[in-house]
Point group: D2
Chain length 329, copies 4
């Protein structure tokens, strides 16, 4: 299942060290102005090597639009987009060919498929998200024309919320050959009331599924999330006034349908499992092994996950919007 | 979208005060022994009126199997199951015909559909979950034959975790015409490694979507969930030994695929929005109004939500299992 | 897969001799006036026992709407509809419990499921189409509000096209304990241009799949169908004039998308496989057997299949229309 | 809807004169040996320029596998395959920019999308089928390992069935600046009994939908097809013997499920709409126009459609097979 969405359907493909990674977007409305330069800036945000807080790998990641655009506008046909994998130091990964890295998908992929592209995580690599971000950029372009915007921010890393503290925590982890987790918040603004379907098509259910479908995410909250567990109903209900809701504990969704308020989502992101510290594991033959993974890792994935999480929210919102609109013309 | 699942597909129907509520299960393996008495006990667990902690409404909720069973065994044809709505005091709800209850789906349904069955919540009523629980009971019957079991428990209500404290908190809220939220944990045991698909079909993404698709749920965690945000990678990675994983911070899922460990899910449940206390709201004409909802409400929905959450986990797991197995024979 | 449609999704359930047959319609637009009397007349058309040309079985088939309607209008929630199976002379079928009727699905169901409800065809009975016709009636009600109408007719039976000849052919077959096949034509009028999707969502592909999904259908044509095989391009292309197309060889669909002309479909229907004449077959133990099926059979299923085929076309068209419209309000 | 299939899901992309055409195959079983040379020969069969009977355009169409293969075997990840569009004489099509060619999708695309890539048919070009044939080649590789083979042949062109007569008919049409239609037959051999689902997932319904989803197809028959309309039931039923069915009027499918016999499909293919003869039409401004399309056209598309139709049958069969098998390992 490498496809997401019912109306704005994206199918991603590609592995970390294969020929290319990319995405096919099916269901994009016709007539939308589109060129590579609409997509590239969002891809650049998820690149490594842009700050001391991220991996020093260099990835150029030039997007190419392969189809679906005619004289600068989308035609309603599938928009295929691709990035060639340039820097492929596959031999760096030879030591990992037969070993299961703790916290990674190595073991479960091996069990499921009986074969595994071990180079840089293969299909489970973060490079797969290039396709998501490219599709998300396309979605955001359409959404912004409808007055809908999406913005994410880091709210906590390793228990700290002050930006300087956060930077210190990440650099300390890096120094120690370790990694740290955190919490990000993504907000959708300008979303009309009425998006989402009751029962199994709830907008919050779609958001939760989309966010938990990002590699490192272990928790999702809508609105006040887990804090509601400590509340009275009289505190938690959002009173309604003539001019709208008086508060937004619900995070912009009631009964699975958008209320017109900001859509507020928070996600818990685990520390990057790839660390330099020695860990206990086994190889594919069942022998116990120790590994310490050398190389250029992200001590904290949050800065690079933000554009991915924003893309996922954009993809859910455009899908719900097109469900309402049908084929816009 | 009243359908859930790809292989074990359930479609629920019915409103609180319509003729009936029910479910059609499509894709149930053939040859499974099935009769009403396999389903009824799970429905009875979600009934109100069974303890001072829940609503005093009486709902008999006798399940009837309408199709898909021949001489006591499933045939592979759709299993339709139905409960007639017996106690329909629709006139109790006349006062709510034109008013939007805070914290409810009244406003968003009205915006989306332009029409709303206000009686007892209509389609957004908890009675819709009868279909889910009935389908979940069928799923559990199949799963238990594969050695997979599912169990839920309340871990926190209004900030307390001691059972006696919890009971006190609920009764106090009831007395005050208020309600309280909490946290429940659902664990799947005996699940084989290899279930779930990478990328957009991740097992944890399906679980998150399913759980957030339960009316009152505002947050979902897998494994250690939000706690991972405060961790080092070296603490959070589960070491692997010859005889299996040495810990289960991941909650039984790696890269979206089950690892063979217990699958651990926690959900945050908001306080029931229906309360006796006076609240500010508006009616469908835009006039500001005050309401205090008299009647038989649940001061805390957790005891009744447990069988629903268990059913949702069962439905996700059987769907992933049948994806692996194809048509079992 | 007992579900059809993407936007107007119907799920049928039930067997010939189970408790009930029915359908759940998900995605029906809200606000549509609906009562049982909108559905019943179409069901009555597919009933047996109404003319000497059909089986003498009596089926009352009273439809009951179980959900999705509030004060006489649809609410956007699933519309479940059900017919109780009244006349269940299951013992009539005891002789067929272990035998595979030629031309029927008995053998293939047994191979696929390892279990089979032999009573009256079980799930493969024509009674399953009650759910389709009921859902189709609902679809037609919506379509007619958009100016779209659907009408089917018999164009050929056993090689004859004159109505009197057709009646004679059917009665002769009945007398001989045999059955005859034929061809029906279904036309959709008033359909706007632009419905259907290119490539795998073509309107003609959806129609072909829907029609071939009716039990006895062995061939489907759009427009001139197989006759185009003998044509020159210069004969077969429909010239375009200022005021529209000058002919309709294409049957109202170009490139998978409706052109605004009449949508013309023809289907080939095989002779009913249930006949009184002696046939060679085997039983489930592999023994060769002879059967002559006594009882009340249809010597020609065309008169009763017409409302089913009309329903299938209505279901395809409403699905394509809602794809364009989104949620109408 | 540029995606086909439930288990072996293919998504095609690309236009005649865009950067590339291709396909992403999702759900391909892991461990299958695969390289470009497995795919190329089937693509070469659908190329023009290989005989006097087809267009003289030269298309190199070198396939490149972009993902999903590791050390010569599929990994279970999406297999993306692409062909760069080499010969793009887009200016050849300038005369067609504002004109609707009769028998083509020009008019309906314009109505639906309000924009149209007119160069070589754009998305509705036969070049889109490159993706289908590439995916079909992959499917056939898997199927042949299960003993299932697929073969198509031309059975009739412009009313003639003798190969020499057929060649003459095509060359005569070419000379006259015209085109001719015909009938092809595709047979699947070695398919096990039990594939396909009752009701809306019937194997014959899936085949009919797939075949009618090929651009020029206007009719589909299974088994004896339209001929059954002239039969008695006693002639048409296939008797069953100890050693199998005594005939195959049904075309290998009963009740929507494969019987183990050959699966026999016939399709009616219209004359290529692109002809040199003068035709009446209109332009996008509504002015009446005459066109005579110069250039290198196929006077009969049947030879080039055969590999496409074989691919479509392969795609339907592998999808049904994987539905039974689940994830093979």
């Amino acid at each position: 299942m490498n496809t997401m969405g019912r109306n704005f359907r994206i199918t991603t493909f590609g592995e970390s060290h294969g020929a290319a990674v990319g995405v096919v977007v099916d269901g994009c409305p016709a007539g939308l102005p589109l060129q590579e330069s609409d997509i590239q800036p969002l891809l650049d945000r998820r690149k490594p090597g842009t700050s001391p807080l991220t991996s020093t790998r260099r990835e150029e990641d030039r997007i190419e639009i392969l189809s679906g655009v005619f004289e600068g506008r989308t035609t309603g046909a599938p928009v295929a987009m691709m990035v060639r994998n340039e820097e492929k130091r596959s031999q760096d990964y030879d030591a990992l060919r037969e070993i299961f890295r703790p916290g990674h998908a190595d073991f479960t992929y091996q069990v499921k498929y009986g074969i595994r592209d071990h180079r840089g995580g293969g299909r489970s690599s973060g490079r797969e998200t290039i396709g998501r971000v490219a599709a998300g950029a396309l979605a955001m372009k359409y959404l912004s024309g409808k007055g809908i915007t999406i913005a994410g921010k880091i709210v906590e890393v390793h228990g700290r919320s002050d930006p300087r503290e956060i930077e210190d925590a990440i650099l300390a982890a890096k120094m120690a050959g370790d990694s740290v987790g955190g919490i990000a918040e993504i907000v959708g603004r300008g979303c009309p009331a009425g998006l989402g379907d009751p029962i199994f098509g709830k907008l919050d259910a779609a958001i939760a599924g989309a966010m938990m479908g990002i590699g490192a995410v272990k928790g999702v909250e809508i609105g006040d999330g887990f804090a509601v567990a400590g509340r009275f109903g009289s505190e938690n209900n959002d009173p309604i006034r003539k001019d709208g809701f008086a508060s937004n504990h619900a995070g912009g969704i009631l009964g699975g349908i958008s209320s017109g308020q900001d859509i507020v989502v928070r996600i818990a992101i685990k520390p990057t499992p790839t660390i330099g510290k020695t860990q206990h594991t086994v190889d594919i033959h069942g022998n116990e092994r120790e590994i310490a993974i050398e190389g250029r890792h992200d001590p904290c994935i949050l800065p690079r996950i933000l554009p991915v999480a924003e893309a996922m929210l954009a993809l859910v919102l455009i899908d719900a919007l097109l469900e309402q609109e049908g084929y816009p013309h």
